[in-house]
Amino acid sequence: MNWSAPLPGVVLVGTVLVAGAYVASVLDAGAARLVAGRPLRVGELVAGPWREAALLARIRRSTTERPDAQTWALAPALLAAMAGVAVATVPLAPGVAVADVDDGIVLFGAAMAVVMVGAFLHGWSSNSVFPLVGGYRFVALALSYEMPLALVLIAAALPAQSLSVGAIVESQQGLWNVVRQPLGLPLFLVAGMGLAFWGPLGMSDGADLAGGTGVEASGPDRLAWALARHFVLVAVAVMGAAVFLGGWQGPGLPGALWMAIKTLVLLAVVVGVGHRVARIRLERFVVVAWAVLIPLALVDVFASGALAL
């Protein structure tokens, strides 16, 4: 099948995003129960996301005084579209990629930069104080994790001698990047948590801002924003699995299954961290990002470059 044709491509990317968002949301609810020491009721967990989505879809929408309505509606669409672009660049099984272009990780970086625009606009456009503060928080957060993110992706491209995600997956035959470049995956996941404003880096929509950029969104709008955020998380996990965990490569099982397992592992790690680590103060994270994470990412680039030579 030609996966880069329009219809199969959209169906494939959409399936990955929706299935991933569902699994992430089940994992999230499960982790919350585990951490709280409550019994895991599998039936409830499995039905949970559907019930929540159905409830949100039926709640009335609300609006604010003189919002920028078009931009407000655009924000979740922008996040979802950029998550889709990111997933499209990744080969999900040998030969199954929607757009494994030769500048794949640059395309991923560009898409993730536009996520910042979407999150800021979501906070700005409702013309309300807490969402606006949340939007500014996201910009400060994004400017701090963007450099480590770009640097670890560059480091991963060095042994492949290519910017294509497919070539990066192929280059990990025998030795995954998570072993070859031990700094890469942790830094990537920190940046990924920031991209999806998840767990310790969830300050833009944090409870200390009464919900941040999402305060004024209600009903279907809230559902769209939650979905978009989960889509971004899934895109990060899929890209992390391909770039650092060897993608579809693995013994015995078919490639697509390996890819699914690795993505699931990364989702579980991020979701688990979200329930075990407290939210960080933004000022502290900015200092840590510039003073610790960027130098570590530079070490990663230099060491990977030296190894690749």
């Binding site: 003189r66 920028d68 931009t71 272009v101 030769d102 500048d103 640059v106 395309l107 970086g109 560009a110 930069a113 536009v114 910042m116 625009v117 800021f120 606009l121 700005w124 013309n127 606006l132 500014y136 910009v139 994004a142 400017l143 963007e146 910017l163």
Partner: protein, 209 residues
């Protein structure tokens, strides 16, 4: 193959026209944040034209950089204008006569060049690797030029941070500042309080001079 070429042709015209329309909307909107993001939309359209012209790396990097830069620009414009969040309507055009003259001159100049110049007609070889060629160029023959420009920009950024920092070359940024007075009728400023410097509160009084 002709289908793909036709799609690419149509897409180039759409993105090219889109970039012009978005650039025009920069001046038609009444909010700084919207203006910044219409400009971003224009840049994204130009980036897509570059991607279609096989300069894929440059086109994508343009989108990547401009998404961040327009966001920073919007944030700074809102801060400097003290317009709550840039949502209050304000005109995006000023200096009308100068702007009209500059616009007409620029349009006439570019139109003249467009009519007179002989544009090269060299279809890109599909087998070529533009990203690799760009890398060779940046780190090969033109390395001295790009490294000079890069280091100069880096030095400028470090200098700007050194000057603007809280403990920059003009001394402590909070010197002489004071917290706003508790009594609303009392004047603000360093003389209003027996001890003007309260650790951690100074930042609130920075604009009271």
């Amino acid at each position: 193959m002709t289908d793909a070429a036709l799609v690419a042709d149509v897409a180039i015209w759409l993105f090219g026209g889109g970039s012009v329309v978005a650039a025009w909307l920069v001046f038609r909107t009444d909010s700084m944040v919207r203006a910044a993001y219409w400009l971003l939309a224009s840049f994204v359209a130009v980036g897509m034209v570059m991607v279609l012209l096989q300069a894929r790396f440059l086109g994508l990097v343009l989108v990547l950089m401009m998404a961040g830069e327009m966001t920073i620009m919007a944030a700074f414009m809102v801060m400097f204008m003290m317009n709550p969040a840039g949502l209050n309507p304000m005109s995006m055009v000023h200096q009308h006569t100068t702007a009209k003259v500059a616009g007409v001159v620029a349009f006439a100049g570019l139109a003249f060049v467009g009519l007179v110049a002989e544009f090269p007609d060299r279809p890109v070889d599909p087998a070529s690797e533009p990203t690799a060629e760009l890398g060779e160029e940046l780190l090969g023959d033109s390395m001295l030029i790009f490294e000079t420009a890069g280091v100069t920009l880096l030095a400028t950024m470090i200098g700007a941070i050194a000057i603007a920092g809280k403990r920059g070359r003009f001394g402590n940024a909070q010197e002489g500042s004071a917290p706003p007075p508790v009594d609303p009728d009392a004047p603000a400023g360093p003389d209003a309080h027996p001890s003007p410097m309260h650790g951690g509160h100074g930042g609130h009084g920075g604009m009271h001079h």
